[in-house]
Each structure stands twice: as C-alpha cells, then as structure tokens.
Subunit: 356 residues, 2 copies
C-alpha cells in the first residue's frame, strides 16, 4: 500500500504517521484561498467581517480540500458542537426510543450526538460521564443515572446537564420524566378493577436508595395504590435484575412459595417478558392463572404473541423534550426546569379477571 500523495500547491508535509493520510487544516484552506487563517476561521464560523468575495473563495477552498474542522482543536477553545448521551443499558428498548427522540432534534440544531455506554455499576457510569466531560462535550443527557445527586450537581457545574427518567427537582440541571408513581398506580388500579387482590410487584435490586430513581418511584406508586385500595397486607415486593434473566429469577421466587399471586406488576417490560416466558414454558396460563403487567411499552410487548399490558411513558417525547431543554441550557438558561409527563395505561392481553 502506498500513501496517496496530495499533489497540491506548494510544500506538502509528509504525513506524520506512516501510512496515514493527513486531513486538510484551516491553514491549508486559507493558503489555497489566499487569505489568513483568521479569515478562514471567520468564514467557517459565520462570524462578522467577511466580504462576499472572500467568503466565496474560502468556501470554494474548503470544498476543494474537503475540509473538516478538527473537533479536538475546537474543544480547546470553544464548543465542540457535540452532545453526549449516557445510557446505562443499551439492551433495554426504552433507551433506544429515548435516543430516537433525541437525535433528530440535535441534528436539526447542527449538533452531533455521541453515546457512552454506562455499564451496570455506579463506578462505570461515573467513568462514562467523566469521559464525556474529558471530551469537552457541549452538554450532557443522562438517561436514568444511578449516581448520587451530589455527583450530578458537581457535573452540572461543569457543563449543561439534563437528566431523563429520573425525577426530582434539582438546582443545577434539568430533569424530565414521567410520573412513575402515577404509572404504577395505573397498573394497580387496572388490576384491582379486574378483581385482583394478590398483586405482587417486581422492582430492581439496587443498593442505592435515592427516592428519585424510577424503580423506587414505581414501587412507591404500587405501595400507595395498594394501601389506597385497602390491600396493605397484600403488599409483596420481589427484587431482581431488570433483564430477561431477572424475570426468570422472579418467577422462580414466586414458584418456590406455597401459592402464586393472581397478578404480577413488573417495574420494567424486560423483566415482565422474562417472567412471562418462564410461566409460559411451565405451562402456567397467562392471564388465566396469573396476570402480568410491565412498564415501558417496549416494541416487543406490542407483538401479537406477547401482547403485554404495560404503561406508556412516551419515551420518544421524553427524548425530544430533553433535547430541547439541553439546547436551551446550552444557549444560556441557568434556572433549572423540571418536567413531569403523565403516563398512560396500555391494557393488552396479559391481564384479565382472576379465575376464582
């Protein structure tokens, strides 16, 4: 393989790394257009003090050299025109939907989106966030962050931050989420309305006890609704992972007991799906023997063979509005905003009146 020689005008420096091509810089552009780099920079930024003639010559040079600004260099002084999204679990389709809501908004505002996988522990999540700060992102969207709020405030003091799907008003950043307490209450009301009384709840096993975390809010909503219906003695919360495997594990817990509840409300669709699969495989009729409800309205749950009763959070809208909030913040707003959307019940075929 041979390095492609760029037969341009004048001295052309040998590429530094062997076999690796060099990209055109603003200086190259300026040289070709016969202007100063400062002038080229002005054209690039659309800044004041540029004659039409110069603009045209510079732009011509840019396209001719297929110039692209070096984001690292930009990050040294000004903005990178890039926002970071930190997502804990790419497997969970909820996050994908938030993402689909986010990206077009940022795209329209000429900002790139870069995603950092946060892993499953608080340490790895924090490392991902710090990594984005290291990269000089212009702003950050954190989807269901697990780190303590003090950490969030610290990060938010460095750059604009919007937190999605984790509630609670904050001082230095914006939050947008759906009302998870209300969401789980919708499910409980729905199940009670069908005649259920033995309603169990599956929540995420996680050491942190921050009340703003969504699974905590859902558990709270479940408990409150049970109490409201006079079912406080039937409250039954099983903790597990939020994954298919977590659903299997929860099923094992239920099956290891004397009797099954008549309905199970999982705090996430993924867990509900695992549960459902386990019941199905064992020939336990859903919803005949036990009703199952999830939370998130993930696309898989819509499929006819599954048809899972769940709660719609409006993940797409969450993403869209989060992007709007971040853009506002990057434009200079500093007063915190905190948006709460209303969830809606999506009744499908995995819930029905109890047999008895």
């Amino acid at each position: 393989m041979h390095v492609s020689e760029q037969a341009e005008t004048g001295a052309d420096p040998v590429p530094d790394l062997p076999g690796l091509a060099r990209r055109a810089t603003l200086r190259d552009v300026a040289r070709r257009a016969g202007v100063s780099t400062a002038a080229a920079s002005k054209v690039l930024r659309g800044a004041y003090g540029v004659s039409p003639g110069m603009r045209e010559r510079v732009q011509e040079a840019m396209t001719a050299l297929s110039y692209r600004p070096n984001t690292s260099a930009r990050g040294m002084r000004g903005k990178t025109f890039t926002v970071g999204v930190v997502i804990s679990d790419v497997q969970n389709q909820f996050y994908d939907q938030v993402l689909s809501g986010l990206t077009p908004v940022f795209g329209a505002a000429d900002h790139k989106v870069l995603i950092a996988p946060a892993g499953t522990t608080m340490e790895s999540e924090l490392a991902a966030v710090e990594g984005m700060v290291d990269h000089r992102m212009d702003g950050l969207v954190l989807v269901t962050p697990l780190v303590p709020r003090a950490e969030l405030e610290r990060i938010a003091a460095i750059l604009p931050v919007v937190v999605v799907a984790r509630g609670g008003a904050a001082e230095g950043y914006d939050t947008i989420t759906t009302d998870d307490e209300a969401g789980s209450a919708l499910i409980v009301d729905h199940l009670v309305g069908l005649g259920h009384r033995d309603i169990a709840h599956i929540t995420l096993g996680w050491s942190g006890d921050d009340p703003t975390l969504p699974f905590r809010a859902r558990a709270r909503g479940y408990e409150a609704a049970m109490r409201r219906h006079g079912l406080e003695d039937r409250i039954d919360i099983v903790t597990t992972a939020w994954s298919h495997q977590g659903g299997f594990d929860a099923a094992e817990v239920f099956l290891s007991r004397p009797g099954l509840p008549t309905a199970v409300h999982a705090g996430a669709d993924v867990a509900a799906l695992g549960l459902l699969s386990d019941f199905w495989a064992r020939g336990i009729d859903v919803p005949g023997v036990v009703s199952v409800a999830g939370y998130d309205n993930s696309p898989i749950g819509m499929l006819a063979p599954i048809s899972l009763t769940t709660v719609e959070q409006g993940a797409g809208e969450l993403g869209m509005r989060a992007a709007d909030l971040l853009l506002e913040r990057m434009a200079g707003r500093t007063e915190p905003r905190s948006v709460l959307l209303a969830p809606t019940l999506v009744p499908r075929s995995t819930t029905a009146a109890p047999r008895a």
Copy 2:
C-alpha cells in the same frame, strides 16, 4: 447558585463561563507538586525518566486536585484513548450484543468507547463516521456499514478501521463477519429437511448492490441453497425494511397473493417477529400453516411465547474479536486481516413439517 471557589494555593483564575467550574489542568498539578508540566506529563503517561519520589508527589497532586486529562488537548498531539463504534440501528438487538462483546475488551485495554448513531441513510452514516474522525478517535469499529467500499478505504487511510458484519477482504482495514451465505443455507436445508419446497425469503430493500452487505449474502445463500435442492423455480424474494413494520409489510405482500408459501425465511429476526406477529394476529397458525425462520438469534426470539427458529452469528464473539483486531491495528499492524466465523442453526418452535 454560587460558583464554588477552589481555595487552592496561589492565584486561582476566575472561571471563564459564568456559573461553570474549571477543571484542574496538568499545569495546576505540576505547580502543586512543585515540578514542571513536562514532568507531570511524564508521570501521567508513564514515560521514562521519572524518579519514584517525583512520581509519588505528582500522583498525590493529581488525586488531590481530582485531575483528569483533557481529551481534546490530547487529541491535538497524540492519542485520545477512545475508539468509536458506528452503529446503524440501535433498535436491532444484534448490535447491542456486538457492543456488549466490544466494550469489556476496550475497557481492559484502557480505552473508552463512544458510539455514534449512524441513522438509516448512507449520508447520515457517513456523517457519523466523519464526525468520529473529527473527534480524533484512535480507531473505528463500523458495524454493518452501508457506504461504498471506496469510502471505507478512504477512511481507513486516516485511522485504523475494523468492519464488523460485512464481509469481503479489504486492503486497508480488517473485516470480521459470519458466513452469511452459509447461514441462510442452514435455514433452507433445515426447512427442506422438514419437507418444505415453497420457501420465500425476506431481504432488506436497499438501493446499494454491494455484494459484501450481509443481507445480499443471505439472499445469495438462500438462492444457492434453493438451486442446490432443485427448487430454483420456487425462489421468491420479498424486499422490505428490517424492522417490525417491515415484517408486517412482508406479511401483507404474502397475504395479497393467491397462496401462502409454506415457509418464510427472513434475513433478520426483527422482520421475522413482525411477520410472526401479523400472522398470529390474523389467526394464521405458525408453524401449522406456515413456518417462519429469522436470522440473528436475538434475545427476544428465545422467549417461550415466541421461540423463533433462527441462525446464531455469535454477535458477542464478533464484537470481542473485532476489538482485538482493532487493538492490534492501533498497535501498528498494517496487513489486513479478514475473519469469517461459522454460523449455527438454532431450531425452535416456529418451524415444523408442512401440513400437506
């Protein structure tokens, strides 16, 4: 809100942006440790020429100031210790699995992973790739890129590139993929073995005709296998999107015809799931009336209510080995490598002998 004053030793500069905290720089660290920035840099990089005493003082200063290197600044001269992953469709679980294979390997090698959403068009994909180059990534993993190979070679001349799930030996970059022709042949053999003859195939509707694209290879594998079994007159290829909706659309196509095929092999599980859901909703028995097979072995397909026959590509291994290849390349290897893994059939409950 008040900016937190960092009550450190000596002159502490006012943060440039109002309300935004300033991070410690290498100079701050050096000053505090009483050494030159060059020395601090040596310690940071683990370079030669550092006494144990100095190393200790500098490291102490780093932790005290909770110093983090500025990646943008690093990108200006050396490496960013970050690799970029470009993924076309985050909704497709196959990509998530590749990702899960990738990240631990890079993590172990002290490299951050950043993901760029490539969108659905070739233009948006190219923009995402260029964006990663702008950010001075040390290397790139492209998962099922759609851009022409000439573009890939151009990018690969700038930085190390590994292409995942798109075959064909290349000159300037590595490729790793499973043998998609063989994979689809496995499905056809399986279906023929069950007694099917009217086997249709669903492929991705995409204008590019590069033969290395996976859906092209699968279609080729299907055709070749059909011919091998003397079924060339039964070859029936429907093009659609690779999504649930695409599956619905394909179902409509089949239902609008005089008779259904006895088996359908979709080139991707997502499409198979959409198809399945449509059939199910219309009361068309699967596999009684029609057998359905997918491709990818995505987690959803494993769930008991679905239990989809499919092909395992080993997405996790694909990701792991792609990471290894990229690390090798970043370490200096320039001869291209191209790895082909063998797929395996995963027979489940959506395929059975035809009724007739």
